[in-house]
């Protein structure tokens, strides 16, 4: 792992300890707020990221608390008045089966297994592993969202071309 945030992005590198989840959420919330995401979307995306981290801690590192985790948040301008949030979560755990992050089959409501995965898929547009990674896992979450109105910041140029923070697609 070699943390390098996209422009206007940020990386968090931390160990697979549940204690760190609240710190990750605080950073995610403020990152989305400064990018003018509304509060509802901010809370849903925060939930999706938290559940993704929880999965790595529980299933990837299986409770071992000193595994490395690297969360990268970036926002790419897209053509027109829309932009795309791209989240990458890298770990050094054993390779997860490629179907591990697939949307769970609808199940009886009181079966809690798969609930985290359900949340992630409900919130995000795309959920997949980066197939080009050799060691560990890189989970990619993407969400298209409208361009924010930024009343106090006229400096933000709205570019017409697609400048994604990463290069890989699902």
């Amino acid at each position: 792992m070699n943390a390098a945030p996209p422009p206007d992005g940020i990386c968090l590198v931390f160990r697979s300890s549940p204690r760190m989840l609240c710190v990750v959420r605080a950073a995610v919330r403020q990152f989305l707020a400064q990018a003018s995401f509304d509060e509802g979307l901010t809370e849903r995306v925060t939930l999706a990221i938290d559940e993704s981290c929880t999965n790595v801690i529980r299933h990837g590192y299986q409770g071992c608390e000193d595994g490395l985790m690297e969360l990268t948040l970036g926002i790419a301008e897209r053509s027109g008045r829309s932009r795309q949030l791209e989240i990458r979560l890298a770990d050094e755990a054993c390779k997860a089966p490629s179907e591990a992050m697939k949307a769970p089959a609808p199940s009886a409501p009181t079966t809690p297994g798969g609930l985290g995965l359900h949340f992630i898929h409900e919130v995000m547009d795309e959920v997949c592993f980066d197939e080009n990674v050799e060691r560990g896992n890189v989970l990619i979450l993407r969400l298209g969202c409208p361009e924010a109105a930024e009343p106090n910041d006229g400096a933000r140029a709205s570019s017409g071309s697609d400048q994604g923070p990463g290069g890989s697609s699902c």
Partner: protein, 111 residues
């Protein structure tokens, strides 16, 4: 980071939770719920007024408690859900599985 308080009100146990419920903190809530189940009161009310965030581990903990109480013919009521927390129950499609109340008072009155 989570604050969990338990008190007995007539035949009910009220568990007041404050803070964010996640993988780190949900075991604290679980402990209080298991103690309340053991204590045997007919109705367990979880006061979520002070909860600003809940993830799937929090929901799973509440689902577990609901099962444990129902099989003994006892009730679990969730009181005072904030809109953001309520939305998590809705995404989980569990808002109708649980008995929800506006407030602890409503949960206790509605016996």
């Amino acid at each position: 980071m989570l604050k969990v308080d338990r008190r007995e009100v007539d035949a009910a146990t009220v568990i007041a939770v404050e803070g964010e419920v996640d993988l780190y903190s949900s075991p604290q809530m679980r402990e209080a719920l298991l103690a309340a189940i053991k204590a045997g009161s007919a109705r367990v009310v979880v006061d979520l007024t002070g909860v600003s965030y809940m993830d799937s581990s929090g929901i799973a903990t509440l689902v577990e408690a609901l099962g444990g109480l129902r099989e003994k013919g006892r009730a679990l009521v969730l009181a005072g859900l904030r809109p953001r927390v309520r939305e998590v129950f809705e995404i989980a499609k569990l808002q109708t599985v649980f008995t929800l109340a506006e407030s602890v008072d409503a949960a206790l009155a509605d016996g």
